[in-house]
Amino acid sequence: MDGRPLYLAPRLESRLRSLVAATGTLHALTDALGSPVHVVVPDQIAENLERFRSVYRAHHLPGQVFYAHKANRSSALLRRLAATDAGVDVASLGELQHALGAGFTPDRITATGPKNPEFLWLAARTGVTVSVDSAAELDQLAVLVRKHALAPVRVLLRLAGFETSGVKVLSRRSRFGTPVRELERLLEAVERHGDVVDPTGVAFHLDTTSVAEKATALEGCLAALESCRSRGLRPRAVDVGGGFGVSYLAEREQWDAYTTELTAAVLGRRPPLTWGGHGYGLRNESGTLRGSLGLYPAHRSVAGAAYLDELLAQPAPSLGGRPLAALLLEHLYDLYTEPGRALLDQCGLTLAKVLEVRDQGPGEELLVRLAAKADDIALEDHGVLMDPVVVPGRGAGPGEGPVAVHLFGSLCLETDLITRRTVFLPRRPVPGDLLAFANTAGYAMDFHATRAQHQPVARKVAAWQDGEEWRWCLDDQFWPITPSRGAQ
């Protein structure tokens, strides 16, 4: 191994820290259900909801937090949230059925994203709020409601293409939403369909980490709502979407050190830190670094509820420079948010068993093969670099360390790498150890999982603390009243 180990230790809050230390329980899980296994922690999502609620309270803002269901298929997490006062944001027919079945009443559900006729019908029939993507979709919805004699449907108008005066804030083009310059035409359609749709408010969802871009969009929404009101409509909500982010790593210093060394490796000033010298988007052009780092900013000083707080504190230049939170409040608007990843922060981990540890020779990385496919642990697919925690197997003594390893998946495929990064572990793993990948609940559990090569998709269990003990059941068996839960 060259030089000092470059760790990227995961940030573990108390529940995950306790779960990772419950080695007996974790081994029992993989013994019973095979490897890999996803473990979700439903009680954490309720705590995360409370963090968002406290930001609402601090700004006196009424409104709703809608969990973006697409980030995890888990029933346990959804049902636990149904037992709170949160809402849910569904993006498919299946998700809507799942949410209704988990106990969400229609007033707590919004339907967004691309919609097929069946999804649209069930949404309209049950009376959930529909986030309308375009004037054409509004027409389609109106036809459906009239044809089937349904009650008027609450709609949010999803907008895009916000413009600024002064500094031009560029944004990636979105395939969703109506450009604000076509707002008047959309509002004419809303008025035309006044008998069958009830415009609750406007919405946006920008895929960016930039607070400035979202502040521009929110300011644009306030202007759009004013257009609604001047037409005599009575909208009452702004939906700012999600994208509040998660900080995955425990220490900023480790992230800084790693990215500096990666830069040096790409420029050829140190040995590679990746399989095949992969640069994660960076490249060397005659000694100068080009490209951009295609990685999720794994350590973020402001993420989740704190990010929402920062967004709400941004001033709106076109409205006298007042903070957005004050403007929302005094215009009497409800604030809707749709956090996915941020609500799932610390809500689970993925276990994979070590099958083989192969030596390549002195100074070379160890090749570690896991009983899991890369798509079962999809952190890399989202650009998240984070070390797994070694959960020692029974009877395994402390091995030598630290060691540098490559983590391979179980597919018969060259590219089935759990990560292209050289991972540093504090000690040498042995077959039978488990690697626990923390914080996988947001997008990294089932979003990308396949059944390629007849290999199974990971099982999912829900776990909760019962005094000092961790208890669990299959994800699908979990209900907020599951026997033996502490809440009983």
Partner: protein, 439 residues
């Protein structure tokens, strides 16, 4: 001195000795090269002018727009130069974090484009970063741009190789300083000066300063960010050291308060980094030696930067009649009325209804007959005394009844006999189904 054009005033900046009583070095004379005294306010005037000058005649002929990736001083200088030649200027940036600079650029007629932030739901296979797209736009056929390309343009370095560097040697009576300390941004000034000094005397030692990685100091790149700079060559520097934002401000304060040099945080970082580096070497030799650092620009543009990081430095005396000095008990005792009581009261006694929300919110919906005095203005008004006659009852309304309670308590303390707060605010009013109007 008389000039035909302001651009002739670029360069020939003073080299000023720092009082040893301030820096405490005993064997080393420390000099500041005051680049802040260039006509547009910074060291970048030299590079901007040198890069743009040969391209201007053709640009004027085609009416091209001058473009640069800059979040600060280069943009400022180019905006001025472009304006002088009747050309537009556009600054493209993802790093413009100093609001004063942004406003100044707009004032100078510049167009500013901020690049989009990183994707939250990342697609690791997407290789088209915003900068690549920027360069593609520039090279698209038919586009009329004058791109000065400061991070790669050798004329950036040349401005300092032929200007700043030789000026330092001349002002030191032909001697090359023993150390040259510079912050690394585009690397133009440090590379150019270092090369000029080494040509005279290869024994000069060059210290490059970068910002600590998670910190932000205007005009300085972090150790990773400098790798993206085409002009950056690690061999230019004998050592690279990092400076934190706090240290930069500390150095800036010393320059501002003790030396009479009104330099900004970049100059402060250079001063701090120079003294820190030299202190260890002060005793190694008995003979007198010299060191030079660059003060890149002025402090005035960075007041909000300082306010954000060191609000204590801008502390102001407490204000009179401020709702902030009310105790929780006083606010709790503030007279208030429920929506139902308020409606009866308005009907019976016609109190003055004051809506403390912003004019935009007021214009959208408000209580009929109310007047709008936005909270910021109201807090100014009460500093001078009661803004209403004591004989006129007043109902204060805000979004949720919190601010109105504070001001009701304050006005009561100031001697108003009948001021009441609308409990629950305009939101409670709406929720009770009471009428709100648009005028």
């Amino acid at each position: 001195m008389r000039y035909d054009s302001i651009t002739e005033a670029i360069g020939n900046t003073p080299l000023v000795r720092i009082d040893p009583a301030v820096h405490g070095l005993r064997t080393i004379d420390l000099y500041a090269k005051l680049e802040m005294l260039n006509p547009f306010g910074s060291v970048k005037d030299r590079a901007a002018w040198n890069m743009a000058r040969p391209l201007l005649p053709e640009a004027v002929e085609h009416g091209s727009q001058v473009v640069e990736l800059s979040s600060g001083n280069t943009a400022k200088a180019l905006a001025v130069v472009a304006g002088m030649h009747g050309l537009g200027f556009k600054s493209v940036t993802n790093r413009m974090r100093v609001p004063e600079i942004k406003d100044l650029l707009l004032l100078l007629g510049a167009e500013i484009e901020e690049l989009p932030g990183q994707s939250e739901c990342l697609d690791p296979t997407a290789t088209d970063d915003p900068l690549t797209l920027f360069h593609r736009t520039l090279s698209a056929s038919g586009s009329a741009y004058l791109h000065t390309d400061q991070y790669f343009n050798p004329r950036n370095t040349e401005a300092h190789l032929t200007g700043t560097g030789p000026e330092i040697v001349k002002d030191l009576d032909g001697r090359v300083p023993d150390w040259f300390v510079a912050c690394v941004g585009t690397a133009g000034s440090s590379t150019g000066v270092a090369r000029a000094l080494r040509e005279e005397d290869p024994s000069v030692r060059v210290v490059g300063l970068v910002a600590a990685k998670s910190d932000f100091i205007p005009g300085i790149r972090t150790i990773d960010e400098v790798q993206e700079v085409g002009l950056f060559d690690p061999d230019t520097y004998d050592t690279m050291e990092s400076v934190s934002a706090d240290e930069a401000i500390e150095g800036m304060l010393t320059l501002n308060r003790r030396c009479g040099i009104l330099g900004g945080p970049t100059g402060g970082a250079a001063y701090f980094g120079a003294v820190r580096h030299l202190r260890a070497l002060d005793e190694e030799s008995g003979e007198r030696r010299t060191a030079v650092f660059i003060v890149c620009d002025r402090v005035e543009s960075y007041l909000s930067y300082v306010r954000q990081r060191r609000p204590d430095l801008l502390g102001r005396p407490p204000r009179k009649n401020s709702p902030a000095d009310l105790s929780a008990a006083e606010v709790g005792r503030a007279p208030s009325v429920t929506v139902a009581e308020a409606r009866r009261w308005i009907e019976a006694d016609r109190p003055l209804v004051v809506d403390l929300r912003s004019p935009y919110a007021y214009a959208a919906l408000h209580i009929d007959g109310s007047v709008n005095i936005v909270d910021e203005l109201f807090s100014e008004l009460v500093q001078g005394g009661l803004p209403f006659s004591r004989s006129r009852p007043v109902l204060l309304a805000c979004p949720v009844g919190e601010q109105s309670a504070r001001y009701a308590a304050l006005l009561t303390r100031m001697g108003h006999p009948d001021v009441r707060s609308l409990a629950g605010g305009i939101i409670a009013w709406r929720d009770a189904g009471a009428p709100l109007v648009r005028d």
